[in-house]
């Protein structure tokens, strides 16, 4: 079953009473998110990621296209009951403690008082805020607020979790912990929709990703599909190559001179790798290292965003 399904979803924000200005935040975005997966929506700042999620939760109304959440058209109150949401830059009323916050939002989710209390304590432990239960939120760091936000999003045992830049402002260890939490949730059968501009983060945990730029979807697919699945071998040698030697090795390879003393040669296939090594050895050149390198999500992301056309 599709958890989220959008068809040519578009949004143009209009603002100003006298001088109307309009911003196109999303254009014809068609995405399907499947049950049980971690789906990463990637894009630079201002790409329209937040807008996309807000439309799904009917915080923002789309101007065109259609969107379904858990099999019902967006705006359906009941389908929201099965969603968890960690907004970008969320805040909580500062006069509340962590526990009070969860109790209140638990009640807004329809939990009974007794159940809400147990659930809240359990979740504070889950996100590592147990010692902070009775502290005022005012005193919380950004990272702690993100954890509290995650606990809040989990109050109603959601089927799908929308996380908008969840590791924003969290330190590296905290990020790792949060990623582990996401994977645990995924194991428990929660589908996760993750918005982020941090590619490496998304790359580590997502099953499928979409790349969004200036409101347009550039690519949707599994990590390997989006990365392009290419591998390269990099050979690092001591010294420089002469123009004749470069010509002999072939135009297919790339030559990078890092400084006066080392050169890196990138070759694509295994056959080429072996032929190149034979040549280098026959010239008596010292090979310092040989490494296999997958092209990263970042490579294809930058390629797509700088010169990509929409899919």
């Amino acid at each position: 079953m599709a958890i989220v399904e959008t068809y040519q979803l578009s949004k143009t924000y209009k603002s100003g009473y006298f001088k109307k200005t309009s911003v196109t935040a999303l254009v014809d975005a068609s995405i399907e998110v499947r049950a049980g997966e971690i789906f990463g929506l990637l894009g630079p700042n201002g790409a329209g990621k937040t807008t996309f999620v807000k439309i799904l939760l009917s915080i923002v109304r789309s101007t065109n296209g259609s969107a379904q959440l858990l099999g019902k058209p967006v705006g359906d109150v009941q389908s929201r009951a099965h969603c968890g949401y960690l907004p970008e830059n969320h805040r909580y009323p500062a006069f509340l403690t962590a526990l009070e916050t969860l109790l209140f939002f638990g009640k807004l989710n329809g939990l009974q008082k007794k159940g809400a209390k147990d659930k809240a304590r359990q979740l504070l432990e889950f996100v590592g805020l147990k010692e902070w239960s009775d502290r005022k939120i005012q005193k919380f760091s950004k990272g702690m607020l993100q954890r509290l936000g995650l606990a809040q999003a989990l109050l109603n045992d959601p089927e799908v979790l929308f996380l908008d830049e969840p590791t924003d402002g969290v330190d590296p260890i905290g990020r790792k912990e949060m990623r582990d939490l996401f994977l645990r949730l995924k194991n428990d059968g929660v589908s996760i929709f993750l918005n982020s501009h941090l590619l490496s983060e998304v790359e580590m945990i997502s099953d499928r990703v979409a790349i969004l730029n200036k409101g347009a979807l550039l690519k949707v697919g599994t990590l390997d599909e989006v990365r392009g699945g290419t591998t390269v071998h990099r050979i690092q040698i001591a010294g420089l190559l002469s123009p004749e030697q470069i010509k002999t090795i072939g135009l297919e390879s790339q030559f990078l001179q890092s400084d006066e003393t080392t050169t890196t040669i990138s070759v694509k296939t295994d056959a080429e790798l072996n032929r190149t090594i034979d040549l280098l050895r026959s010239w008596g050149i010292m090979i310092k290292s040989v490494a296999q390198q997958k092209s990263s999500l970042e490579d294809s992301f930058i390629k797509l965003v700088t010169n990509g056309n929409p899919v």
């Binding site: 907004p87 830059n89 009640k107």
Partner: protein, 278 residues
């Protein structure tokens, strides 16, 4: 259930922000002052004294106690409404703050439910404080002076009703501008206008002798909650206002008109709130 949680949270917010406590303390001081310094006159038990001075009686058939209550009521209710606005307007904008409103809107309830529970919570806070003062004073009069004036209690309920109607304007500006200060300023402006509109034949009409202008004032009068009309009629449940040209009889019309116009403004707020992006 979820709406109730939001209503209760709104009140809780007023407590935590200190506004409700401030009003509660303020009301308690007023009740205490009257409880200590109001007494029966030793010479004439039908007369009452405050701070040692005798309150006049037998004016337009009003007893000394009635005279005191109706004057107090007439002089203070307008300011109580203003004071209530100061406390309640902030509750209509705090839930719209960026980063908080997204959370509320993602919860499983409709936007009108969210708006209604905020407005209800904010009004309930003001009404509770007002009724606390009214009942407190009523008890002081009953227990200390032996005057059990049920019209005074009823008038207090009507002031709460008037506040709920009047608050539709403040909420509308709050939802529209997301700015508590602006909604308070607008509310103040409107409440003064409403006094002028109530007696427009004697004042505003004379500024310009033009039929279109007069009908415009009439239209404005009937399209907005008639705050001053509701407050002055509430006081008539206690007794006729002394030294005044105002009619003596209680007129329920402003309450009906205002219910309609308040409903209109609340619906406009819901419509605007529901159609907007956050």
């Amino acid at each position: 259930m979820k709406m109730l949680a939001m209503v209760r949270f709104t009140l809780f917010e007023a407590v935590r922000r200190g506004t409700l406590l401030f009003y509660f303390a303020f009301g308690t001081i007023i009740i205490a002052v009257f409880a200590i310094w109001l007494r029966k006159s030793p010479e004439d038990p039908s007369m009452i004294m405050l701070f040692g001075a005798t309150v006049p009686g037998n004016i337009n058939g009003l007893s000394s106690a009635d005279f005191f209550l109706v004057m107090l009521f007439r002089q203070s209710t307008f300011w109580i409404i203003i004071l209530g606005t100061f406390g309640a307007a902030g509750l209509m904008t705090s839930f719209l703050e960026k980063g908080i409103v997204e959370l509320y809107l993602s919860k499983p309830f409709a936007r009108w439910e969210l708006f209604a529970s905020r407005a209800l919570g904010a009004s309930a806070g003001v009404a509770a404080n007002l009724m606390y003062c009214i009942v407190g004073l009523w008890l002081v009069f009953g227990l200390k002076l032996g005057v059990w004036h049920f019209g005074f209690l009823a008038a207090g309920l009507l002031v709460s009703y008037a506040f709920v109607c009047y608050f539709s304007i403040v909420s509308f500006v709050a939802i529209w501008s997301r700015n508590a200060i602006l909604s308070i300023v607008f509310g103040l402006f409107f409440s003064f206008i409403s006094i002028g509109l109530e007696s427009r034949e004697k004042g505003l009409y004379r500024l310009w002798d033009n039929t279109i202008y007069h009908r415009f004032l009439d239209g404005f009068y009937y399209l907005t909650p008639q705050l001053d009309g509701m407050l002055s009629n509430a006081s008539r449940l206690i007794g006729q206002i002394p030294f005044s040209q105002e009619p003596a009889a209680f007129n329920p019309a402003p309450y009906f008109y205002s219910l309609g116009t308040a409903a209109l403004f609340y619906c406009l707020s819901v419509y605007y709130f529901s159609s907007r992006d956050f």
